[in-house]
Amino acid sequence: MKEICYPTWIDSIPVNSGLFSQTQILAREQLKTNGIPKKSFEAWRLTNSALLTEFIKHPLCSNNQKLELNNIADSSKSSVKLSFNSEGRFEANIGKGIEKLNEKEINLYLSENSTSRNNNYDFNKTINEASNNKLIGFRVKGKEKKSLEIAIQASLNELIPTRIIIIVEEGSNIDILQIIEGSKSVSHSHIIEIHVGDSATVKHGIVSIGKDSSKLLASIFVKQKKHSTYSLSCIQKGWSMSRFEKEIVQLYGNAKTTLQGLQIAKQKQELATHSLVKFNGPNGYLEQIQKSILDDESHSIFQGMIEVPKIAQKTEASQLSKNLLLSSKAKVDTSPQLKIIADDVKCNHGATISQLSNEEIFYLQSRGINTKQANELLINAFCTDIINNVPIEVNQSACQTYLANLTEK
């Protein structure tokens, strides 16, 4: 069955022409050879492969990414909204300080940046490249703060691939908010690549909320130059399967990275986060926290690798994984990992798997709060620090809708 599945599916994908035809040919070949990642791949060991197989059974979404970008001639707004609406189009209004990259620039970018993860078979990326025919790129310039909203909502039984590159130039500052929504059995495949230039600041929020048997594979590639700051708050809720792969490289060290992740799962959902942070220079700083709240028979996976090679002296990195089990059938796999070859570093990591504290519930009850309320209060408290870091200013009303209902059962 499976053997028949891949090739038929792959062959059903429309063939690209132009810029991405070569990439697509390669990716298709890879998919045909390797197929669904095997359990023997450490990074996919814990993934339920049945869910992955489902991922690639849908046709590619019909109106594949017709991109319409309108320049607002006299806009004083420095904000872009990129929305992938139900007709399957990207629409965006380009604002001040944000420019669209042309094909030539994208080509240049691609030749300079191969985003391969440890040279292994990168399933997330391969799926995307095999099916995607467009890459949208932006350049962010200038000191004043800008914002970019990317909203991808889908409710058809289709595969929706997107790939976005954002080059944030020296000294500029941007908030990026990604909202990804899915229902029915939509399959999302998204790649976002962010280049954070010298002394630039990027505050990145991802609110991804799935329903029904929707699935999501997302990769985030970030390269940071000196004195840059990148912070990510990534929320995953409700996908039948979702997997975020984050790869952050501090190209020359001397940068600050904050990674926050929150997984909220119930039923038989499987939410995974795999992160790799690599310091290619000294004086780097990382603060990472990954949390999960698991109900019913859900499964949380976290693998976090921090690599501190010899060149990265005086690196300070901390990583914490906190998991809250709400049901006796939920399960957690967490593995925070450190790989260190520099001697003058301060690195630590920690992990806890626990349930809501009876002591705390009792304390709240003794103040007249009922069990349900007490649970909600504590669960909210568990999530607050991560939710608070989503750059909601980008789209207050949308964020409020999503975030308000985040923890409700």
Partner: protein
């Protein structure tokens, strides 16, 4: 900087157990095949079931691949180029110490493990293993008064075949992993301990492993059974001469603790680590596992790993009995080109099972020191608790420290807590000690000892001092 040179001075104590004993050995031909296995079994006059055990293991082993996941890079081992059995001549049918080659007795004397009646340690019973065979076991008779059986595993096969049949390969199945399968096929000797119901073993038991031949692998097998309400503390030490070839050591240790029993297993591993450039040294690929089978049983592993060119070792606990406890306390020091990949597995199956993991890694030179551990809380382990703490100390800019914990929980009523840190020797702490008149070298020693304190505290008294001197450090006042 002067600081670094002092640090390396602290760490570069000469390997003082590197001498070679000139003794006539009887070796069998190189390589492994069914005939070799039959030959070993025949030499040891083993019963049919054991030969069968070996042959089954060999069949499994042939189908298995060497594990690749442990980040270990070493030249391929030619398993047909190893001698799987080597015994000093005339030792096969030993009756008393008088028949043992004096050279060998002297070897153990030099290693600080005198076997003679007059000289031997008063409160520690020793099983001395030289290459593939057990040379002597002291205090056997005295222990027998309490019903404690302490002997070589070969003797146990002969005298207590029922116990061997019942327990051998039950905790570490023959096909558990590549090296365990290899061991199961060709293990030569090792120690056997049986503590009957209700007996607290009156003295420390100890096995001392000595590899003497350069081309011989050592494949010992240890089996410890603690019956209900019994307890035992077992120590293990190991050394080898300096050869510029690599010698394979693939041991299997199985522990079984029944209701209310407790086993404490301590290791000071000081196999030859190879020279500064990583030439020679022991490949130490060991499978150690304990089964807390009974309610309220307890198995505690403590280890100080300083030797071997490569160590691959994860002493584990299967916490099956309700309220059982598993512990793992480890210090691993690597220097020069050594590689240590060590940690533990705590498999929580029963209710209210508890485990503690304390791991201290010190990597110096261009060595690589990895903690790899797994905590698994199964769906029935209501009330299970784990606490892990893994700290690494880096000395020198080329040393590597990795921490790879894998935590898995399927049980809401359980708690896992893991903490880890990696840092270098703190300049401020160093200055504080020096400002009180303590020399740089001694201050570093103190700090490294302090770093390992939580683990040293778990070692039996006799070992704490050895562990300390092994690290080339001075531990004040713990042992009078």
């Amino acid at each position: 900087m002067t600081k670094n040179s002092t640090v390396s001075k602290v760490l570069e104590k000469e390997y003082k157990y590197g001498f070679l004993t000139q003794v006539e050995s009887e070796k069998i031909p190189k390589g492994i095949n069914e005939d070799i296995i039959r030959l070993i079994s025949e030499k040891k006059q083993e019963p049919e079931f054991l030969l069968d055990f070996r042959l089954r293991a060999y069949k499994q082993w042939k189908m298995m691949d060497e594990p690749k996941w442990a980040d270990l890079n070493y030249p391929a081992i030619d398993y047909q180029d190893i001698i799987y059995y080597s015994a000093p001549k005339g030792i096969e049918k030993k009756k008393s110490l008088d028949e043992v080659d004096p050279e060998i007795l002297e070897t153990f004397d030099k290693l600080g493990i005198p076997l003679n009646e007059q000289k031997r340690l008063s409160n520690v019973a020793v099983d001395a293993v030289f290459d593939s065979v057990s040379i002597a076991t002291t205090f056997k008779e005295k222990l027998a008064e309490d019903g404690v059986i302490f002997c070589s595993i070969s003797e146990a096969v002969e005298e207590h075949p029922d116990l061997i049949k019942k327990y051998l390969g039950k905790v570490v199945p023959i096909n558990d992993n590549f090296f365990a399968a290899l061991n199961s096929a060709i293990f030569s000797d090792g120690s056997f301990v049986y503590i009957p119901k209700g007996v607290k073993c009156p003295m420390e038991l100890s096995s001392y492993f000595r590899i003497n031949s350069g081309d011989t692998g050592q494949f010992e097998r240890t089996l410890i059974i603690a019956e209900e309400r019994s307890s035992v503390s077992y120590l293990e030490g190991c050394t080898a001469p300096m050869f510029d070839t690599n010698t394979l050591h693939a041991a299997v240790v199985e522990l079984i603790a029944l209701d209310d029993a407790s086993i404490k297993y301590s290791t000071v591993q000081n196999w030859y680590a190879g020279d500064k450039n990583g030439v020679g040294g022991i490949y130490n690929f060991v499978t150690k596992r304990g089964q807390c089978k009974g309610k309220r049983s307890k198995i505690s592993w403590s280890q100080v790993e300083t030797g071997s060119s490569i160590t691959w070792k994860y002493p584990s606990c299967i916490l099956q009995g309700e309220d059982s406890t598993g512990e793992f306390y480890s210090v691993a020091l690597t220097n020069n080109k050594q590689i240590a990949d060590t940690g533990t597995k705590m498999i929580h199956i029963g209710r209210n099972t508890k485990s503690t993991i304390i791991s201290k890694g010190i990597s110096a030179g261009s060595s690589k020191n990895t903690y790899r551990g797994k905590v698994h809380i199964g769906s029935k382990a209501i009330g299970a608790k784990n606490y892990s703490q893994c700290d690494s100390l880096l000395i020198g800019a080329d040393a590597e420290a990795n921490t790879y914990p894998y935590l898995h929980s399927k049980q809401i009523k359980s708690n896992i807590e893991h903490e880890a840190s990696t840092s270098k020797i703190s300049e401020d702490q160093l200055f504080y000690l020096r400002s009180r008149g303590i020399s740089n070298e001694e201050a570093i020693s103190m700090m490294v000892s302090g770093f390992c304190r939580d683990v040293f505290n778990e070692l039996p008294m006799e070992f704490a001092s050895e562990a300390d001197s092994l690290l080339g450090l001075k531990l004040e006042g713990t042992v009078g």
